[in-house]
Amino acid sequence: MIFEQAANSLIPPAFPDAWQADLLAQLAEAETVLAWAEQDLDLQLCFGKGMLVLTAQRLLTKRAGEAEWQSHLLRDGLRLQQHDHAGVASLELFDAAARIAQWRYTLNHGPAAQHLIERFALQLDSLRSGQPVPEPEHAHCPKCKAELDADAEECPVCTREIHQPPSTWTLLRLWRFAKPYQGQLLLGFLLMLGSTAATLVSPYLTMPLMDEVLIPYQNGASIELSTVGLYLGGMLMAALVSWGLGWAKTYILALVSERISADLRTTTYEHLLQLSLEYFGGKRTGDLMSRIGSESDRISVFLSLHALDFITDVLMLVMTTIILFSINPWLALATLLPLPLIAWLIHLVRDRLRTGFEKIDRVWGEVTSVLADTIPGIRVVKAFAQEQREAARFREANKHNLYINDKLNKVWSLFSPTVSLLTDIGLLVVWAFGIWLIAHHNVTVGTLTAFLAYIGRFYGRLDSMSRIVSVTQKSAAAAKRIFDILDHVSNVPEPTRPVQLKQVSGQIELRDIRFRYGNRAVIKGLGLTIRPGEMVGLVGHSGSGKSTLVNLICRFYDVSEGAILLDGTDIRSLPVADFRRHIGLVLQEPFLFFGTIAENIAYGKPDATREEIIAAARAAHAHEFILRLPLGYDSLVGERGQGLSGGERQRISIARALLIDPRILILDEATSSVDTETEKEIQKALDNLVKGRTTIAIAHRLSTLRQADRLVVMDRGEIVEVGPHDELMAREGAYWRLYQAQARNVDTDPDDAE
């Protein structure tokens, strides 16, 4: 971007650096670059970089894999068209007679191409009319259509889409949760130092016990009871101190680690609740539950048990080394030299075991997935008499499980004996070298005994120390899975600079919105303005994007491109909870939580008075049937409570929506799961609800949308027709066809069920 040439001023500063020099050579004098779009595929759909530039006079392009730039002069009759399929977009240039050129790219270059198409159309218009291109009042972001500040290069709404991977040192990130307890942690560490030091006293005392008492006794001297008492007393004291300190240390650190994991759990759950519906859609419930439940527990066990033991062992190693070297450096060297070798050997075997265990985990997953497939679908299995096949499938998975287990057990059964063999060999080296030192140098039997006592204790810990590698890896994986949730930035993020709306009139504007689910475009360039207080019915076949549109308006998802505005403000700049407070949602399957009816009605406004609750229930035509229940408003519903019919549950959910008195009401197939008689009841309740609110209703039976001010007919993510019922009927278009189809078969219309 640091070209200081005169002509360069005509290339916008945001233009990619890599193409600057190349393009500059192509541009004529004073030729202005208006828009550009990069491509990442060639025409055979292989990866490669290409560029398409729109100037005031022509389209300049250099395709991937081609050496030369090509140019297409702008002229009347040209048109550019973009469409996409399976994650790949295609941009085509046509004139009246034929296709002139084509470009291919993946969807991350889609918005730039869209922007180029729009500028291209404006430029052609101005060529035709001779008028200059009207300057847009504000720059709009090509991706989300948000207004940009004049000097802003990047759109603040779009740039938040960062794909930054979290660090690999995941376990260290637990420090965030450990920090509040640093005082206790320090205390625990000091206690640990003390107790470890105390355990090292008694082997030290074996040295004088041997040299001053036992050996002289063997040589004929008598045993002096006071000396023996002194040494044995010292050993007892050391044991008692180490017991006391060890108890305090374990207790404090266990308390802390339990608290850390509890904080971790709560924080994760709170974060999870903030995430968008899209996140929940892509995850399995069981997986999320295990992450928050058992994985945080695994971390707690790691901290309070494994990490603790490991640190104790390391402390012991350091202290022992110091003691041994202070007694006799040569013997110390001989004792400690085999240690790294043995540790490495143990680690080697463990590593093989670990991959084996991971494989077993995976195979075990296969076994359970057979169960998870079959048991919920047991009716189908029985109906098609496939019990034999399912049993065979399970037997097959089980056999595979056995095979993998057998293979691992060969290594596994070798493991413990190997560890003891290695430690025995280590001790043998110490014995041999010790005897040699006693024979040739001035080393006492007591020193050797002390060394053996120290090192025997130590080699025993090697196995558990080697385990720390795999345990750490496992807990790091657990921590990672938890941080995955914590790091997941909500797709419907809170705005950085929230705008407060004082009074909401309820005007909704959909400005050229697009939404993609995976690589499937569900909403394609949809624009609509809904006036305050207007009732709009959404109509269309299943899969036409009605429910998606409603989810977008509720901001359960965010649009991929374009914007949704409430009273002229982008809903992405409103605080999420504030925005939702203005929306009442009545779903096809009303969900009642476990609790009383009153609590369920007051779900959106927990501080509602009893009068308000009753008023809402009355308006929802729920009051009377609630009174018929034995406990009235205090009847328990939900999981284990009173069984309510579909229509009754629906009216409770309508009361719930009425109670928060929203400006915007969304009815998503609110009446389609009940029979016609109940529907009339609900319809009466809905009429009360709709009054004076901006309402968006999806209904499967077109007859229920009669009172809508306008009907919006959707097909494959686009609006096909808009207008009142009578007008659309008179037009005999898409709506008329839908209506006729329903009139023919009043109650059974499989095509329309969503």
Binding site: A86, G87, A98, P165, P166, K480
Partner: protein, 157 residues
Amino acid sequence: MSHTMQFQLSRNSFGRLVLESAEHGRHEGVVPVRAFPVAAPDKGIALVSTDGHEVGWIDELSALNATTRALVEQELASREFMPELLQLVSVSSFATPSTWQVRTDRGPTELILKGEEDIRRIGREGLLVLDSHGVQFLIRDLAQLDRHSRRLLDRFL
């Protein structure tokens, strides 16, 4: 019994396929769609009109005459985009989102994996990796990948 319908296929100057058949009349802009893109890519191809209705069916690609077959294959080639992952060169991290440098049958590229659930199993050996922009990368047989790639991939499964 063969369901292959009698039809003529040609390409117009706009680059669209035009189908003419006695049964369904003339349709501009038909697109071929494979019924089993992974399991049996060359058997069972539907020709679908712009409004989404099936107007032609091909039992087997090899049964077509050379010109028609070439037209169908060209169109398929220009529509299908499921790069086959041949090698994972490197990954930015084992936690997601993770950027992968990969080698595919369509040249080297990079992809962003948003979450582990974007790797899906297809059949026993196959995997489908969905990148953050909706491109699907296919791994036909996990066992065929080299050791390094498998080791990297293993961490995400």
